[in-house]
């Protein structure tokens, strides 16, 4: 697998998309951002990037942080660590019950939003992003392997 380092302009585009989608600033300093297909973006340390070039059979490196879609971007739970939230950031504060629902991948009523994409936060802990429909229901982008089992309360 070739890890293609994002060009400066590509990184700028991503930063702009993150700002538009979430009102948050992408932190890129000290890390390498790479594209891995299907719009997926991974982040790794500079040393790991250099190391990855030395080995055969590299399947991936670093962590998956974002996915660029047609008109917006989504962030993974780990991706949220790479943004600094501005006061106007699109963050929805969740109750414990909603945070559990969110991590089950279930829809969560968050109220009407001015934005299609939001970051979920529970007691300061960022839970990744969700798409919000016109009725104010958020659909968390939690991968299946990472969801809380349905019976958890």
């Amino acid at each position: 697998m070739g890890l293609k380092k994002m060009e400066k302009h590509e990184l700028q585009n991503l930063s702009d998309e993150v700002m538009r989608s979430f009102g948050a600033r992408l932190q890129t300093e000290g890390y390498v951002f790479v594209k891995t297909g299907e719009g997926k973006i991974r982040v790794l340390s500079e040393e790991a990037y250099r190391a990855a070039a030395l080995f055969r059979g590299v399947m991936n490196a670093g962590i998956y942080v974002a996915k660029q879609r047609k008109n917006f971007v989504t962030l993974t739970i780990e991706g949220c660590k790479f943004v600094s939230l501005l006061p106007e950031a699109h963050v929805v504060e969740l109750t414990k019950e909603d945070a559990v629902k969110w991590m089950r991948g279930d829809p969560v009523k968050v109220g009407k939003q001015n934005h299609k994409t939001v970051i979920g936060r529970y007691r300061g802990h960022l839970l990744g992003t969700a798409l919000v429909d016109i009725n104010g229901v958020a659909y968390p982008q939690v991968p299946k392997w990472r969801r809380l089992p349905p019976e958890t309360s």
Binding site: Y31, V43, L44, S45, E47, A48, A51, A52, L54, F55, R56, G57, V58, M59, N60, A61, G62, I63, Y64, T76, I77, E78, K81, A99, V100, M103, Y122, H125, L127, W145, R146, R147, L148, P149, T152
Partner: protein, 310 residues
């Protein structure tokens, strides 16, 4: 229902631990305790433990580890929000100890040769604190998915995941790593309480067959080690042919290799055997350790710590 042993296993245990076999069978009949470590790449232990206690978990330090904790009641930890966020990693107590014995420091280049599902890889990553590199290798495309997921959940930004035959890896990448972890595939007698079928089906031949693979992996891991570097060879099984004999093979091929003594904090253990089945091992092999489930109250392991001089 009681634990059933294959005839081969019964004969082997009667030979290796004639006086404590009953204790082993009793340990096999109990479930392993729920244990974990805090993923310090994402949260500091103090805050994490508070969150877990609020979830109704009672948390107790594992006395013979630096990073490990027991969690009660059973089954609650891995379905908690904090587990899914990657703040905690459920891992056996002795498995936690094995990684601690590798003495990883920030800035090291570390190879985990048989890395899936990633318990030790992610622990090593936490020890690196984001500085240096952890190369997590596995030969199985299926198992590597779990490895990748766990590295993601734990937020390992300095990890490189490779799919390669571990027996060749070290020959292709000689003297590149400060530390190498070889937690080799084995007959898993040390975690027999998880799956009793392992105990019903074990044969001496299965250990002999794996011993060849384990020897190749250890040679390869040693090749990957920088001069002055340290490796851990571990298995979660007991037969000397998968353990002492493998280390002895290394000492015969690489005469300069040093077996380092292992210091365990208050945990009972047995020293490695210096002979088995008529085969005499190097006296150095005595420095390796075998931890039985009735000594740890959890898994059984064999651990050897080896240094490449330089």
């Amino acid at each position: 229902m009681s634990v059933q042993l294959s005839q081969d296993l019964r004969s082997f245990l009667e030979a290796i631990i004639p006086d404590t076999m009953d204790m082993l069978l009793e340990a096999y009949s109990k479930p392993l305790p729920d244990s974990f470590r805090v993923n310090t790449l994402k949260i500091d232990p103090e805050n994490c433990l508070k969150l877990l206690q609020e979830e109704g978990l009672t948390v107790r330090k594992i006395p013979f580890t630096v990073d490990g904790f027991y969690a009660e009641p059973e089954g609650l930890l891995t379905v908690s929000l904090w587990h899914m966020l990657g703040y905690v990693y459920a891992q056996g107590p002795v498995s936690i100890l094995v990684t601690e014995l590798l003495d990883v420091e920030p800035g090291h280049w570390v190879l985990d040769l048989c890395a899936a599902p990633g318990s030790k890889t992610t622990h090593i990553a936490a020890k690196l604190c984001g500085e240096g590199v952890i190369v997590a290798n596995d030969v199985s495309r299926t198992r590597i998915k779990a490895l990748s997921s766990n590295m993601q959940r734990c937020g390992v930004v300095n990890g490189v995941l490779t799919l390669a035959d571990g027996r060749r890896f070290g020959y292709r990448h000689r003297e590149m790593f400060d530390r190498v972890m070889i937690d080799a595939p084995c007959t898993s007698l040390g975690i027999g309480s998880k799956d009793w079928s392992v105990l019903r089906n074990w044969t001496t031949h299965s250990s002999i067959r794996l011993s060849r693979l384990q020897t190749s992996l250890l040679f390869s891991g040693y090749m990957a080690l920088k001069p002055g570097g340290v490796l851990i060879y571990s298995t979660c099984t007991f037969h000397p042919i998968e353990n002492e004999a493998v280390v002895n093979n290394l000492l015969e091929k690489f005469e300069e290799a040093e077996v380092l003594p292992i210091t365990l904090n208050g945990l009972e253990y047995d020293s490695g055997f210096d002979e088995w089945g008529g085969r005499i091992f190097s006296p150095e092999v005595r420095k390796t350790v075998r931890i039985w489930p009735f000594q740890s109250g959890a898994e059984g392991f064999y651990i050897a710590k080896i240094r490449k001089p330089g």
